[in-house]
Symmetry: C2
Subunit: 142 residues, 2 copies
DNA sequence: GAGTTTTCTTGACTCTTTCAAGATTACGGA
DNA sequence: TCCGTAATCTTGAAAGAGTCAAGAAAACTC
């Protein structure tokens, strides 16, 4: 099945209407993981030059709410999106250049999901962000 | 030693100038953990009615950079600050009302600091945010 | 106490994101 | 295939958090 066909199916399974902006947004996020909204808007306009920025914002929010995309937003950065959902992976962010990479957690399947004292909270997700320096920035500094 | 005396000492040890806005910001964050910038601005103006919002932003940034405060910013919220630094604790955020509580990580001293595949990054911090529902919101929902 | 440097005040401004109203499009059923 | 309804998109404005810049004030050094 074509990519577009897969995206269409994903939308239908989520009971969302299939629209050109949404397909283009899905395509853009799949092709540019960890991209910010502005980059995605540009990417989407490669397919649909006339799309409004509002449609992209709406689509990103809708698709995120439906679980088709995941929003990540390390402190101090704008929102970024990725298409890898449902596998509980985490991210490492470079303090130098801001680049983001995926990491699987060392601890296992639902890492750290047990807090020492949960204060009575019902916890359903543990989000881990590793901060550090990427190879390129390490090299440049040395 | 008075609180103010302690804060003054903290500033000097960090090689920062001791100014009234900074003392008031330290005091405000110690008294209102997890408060956002706007609440802190109001709290600071309880002591220093004429302080500018810029001074509060500057102080928060400076104190955070110096390691005297810690900035936390779960996705979708504005920046919040706390005075508990250096002990690698984490946070649980309520999806319902947004309240934040401190948690110590179950895994040990430097939880999750070892990613399964670090992509060559030099990792220096692992930030964990637990998402869930607080007791009050759980109660209200039932 | 004087000089130097940092910090604060003031006010405007940027950037990301959201709101609102009307036009358009997608989908279910005839 | 066409219609009606409801969701979605376009357009344009605006809100909110945070930053920039220039001059005034305060803190520290000697």
């Amino acid at each position: 099945m074509s990519s577009i066909g897969r995206y269409e199916q994903m939308l239908r399974e989520a009971e969302l209407r299939v629209t050109r902006p949404r397909l283009a947004v899905l395509e853009a996020v799949h092709r540019h993981p960890h991209a910010d909204t502005d980059s995605l808007l540009n990417a989407v306009r490669g397919d649909l030059p006339e799309v409004s920025h509002q449609a992209v914002y709406d689509s990103l929010n809708t698709l995120t709410a439906a679980g088709l995309l995941r929003r990540i937003q390390p402190r101090g950065t704008v929102a970024r999106y990725e298409s890898r959902v449902g596998d509980n992976h985490h991210h490492v962010v470079c303090r130098g250049c801001g680049v983001i990479a995926d990491v699987d957690c060392a601890v296992g399947h639902t890492p750290c999901l047990t807090a020492a004292d949960d204060h009575g909270f019902v916890i359903d997700e543990a989000e881990v962000i590793y901060w550090g320096t990427c190879p390129t920035c390490s090299m440049a500094r040395a």
